[in-house]
Symmetry: C2
Subunit: 220 residues, 2 copies
């Protein structure tokens, strides 16, 4: 999912898949897609990203892709995309994503093409029942509640370096991909600098040749 600048990629779901591919040590190419575009080649049907093409196989949906990668490449590092990781994925989708959108939605539309911005703004304003500017107006007050949502992550990081335990796995990719969304589109900081989650995110960002750390961000 790209901005007007095709190098600006910000979908939390696509970032989860990029991280999963990097964890597996699989080479991949990405292709920009924008709100309102038709389904990415070679998929058909409703447009959805990420869509993975692996030879002749097409897999849609970041969770399905993670399961597919562990099944198709069992000898590479495990993503451990099992039932409990699915909880973490569902938690990110249902709890974190809506909270993040109320912090940074108004920063996204200026970064999009005119056509995709129209699609995006309409969909979100309907969901919020207010303009994007109104939805994010109180973000300075709202950010404390967002940070409180990450309490279970802080609790875990007291006793282990990664959500996956001694080594990162797809649970880390889920949270890392989720946090790449605000990082790429906004200069608003959802995390305090001294938050242990920030330290974890910085460590994740340095993996895979700095895949996250070096990703293009919107200008201030």
């Amino acid at each position: 999912m790209a901005g007007r600048d095709a190098d600006l990629r910000f979908s939390p779901y696509c970032w989860r898949t990029r991280l999963a591919l990097a964890h597996k040590g699989l080479a991949f190419e990405t292709h920009p897609w924008r709100f309102g575009d038709p389904a990415p080649e070679p998929a058909s049907g409703p447009a959805q990203v990420p869509t993975l093409r692996d030879g002749e196989r097409v897999v849609i949906d970041s969770w399905a892709i993670a399961e597919y990668l562990d099944g198709a490449y069992p000898d590479r590092p495990r993503l451990n995309a099992g039932p409990h990781a699915r909880f973490i994925n569902a938690w990110a989708d249902t709890i974190l994503d809506p909270a993040i959108s109320r912090l940074i939605a108004s920063d996204i539309s200026p970064l999009l093409t005119e056509a995709s911005a129209a699609y995006f703004v309409t969909a979100l304003e309907q969901a919020f029942g207010m303009t994007l500017a109104e939805a994010t107006a109180d973000r300075e007050e709202r950010v404390a509640a967002f940070r409180a949502l990450l309490a279970p992550v802080r609790r875990m990081l007291r006793t282990q370096p990664w959500l996956g335990g001694a080594a990162p796995d797809y649970a880390d990719d889920v949270l890392g991909g989720t946090l790449m969304w605000p990082r790429c589109v906004s200069r608003f900081a959802p995390l305090a600098g001294d938050d242990p989650v920030s330290e974890w995110f910085a460590r994740l960002g340095r993996l895979f040749g700095g895949l996250l750390e070096t990703a293009p961000r919107a200008a201030a």
Copy 2:
């Protein structure tokens, strides 16, 4: 953790351990303990429940007990108490438990012995910065926010019957143990009857000879 009635047991952590032992198919005896009592035999040091005694081995803390049981009894059904289940455990501890205490704290003290009630009320009123009656006065309004916290569970139950996947495991024990706390001490319903989480909890309650379903509850 028992009330004045020694059969009334309500600690979410002790319920997690009871469920874990039942999942493992291990016979066990329980002994009542109350706020302010010394450490249960044969442990020493600060009082904490659950404390497990298995032969000469003593294990303190529900999470440590779950890890111990999978290690000590690997041939019995797996609890899968790994890093991702630890997230679910941390989520229950940091997100659900505080929210539940704001729904039912005032119902607990009348059920306790005088000595343990004094201990309990002082500790909670200090934590809340208000009386228990004040802390729970708005629970009818507060319950919707509690139910919203369970969105990731509902999302999972769309595609699998248990948090553990096709079969229940320690992730189910964590959430089930957590929900046993309000069930045992209060007639206030934290879940709507038609919530898929209620249906899941009822199914869990029928396992192990109805361990949860038949557990003593406080009178209305």
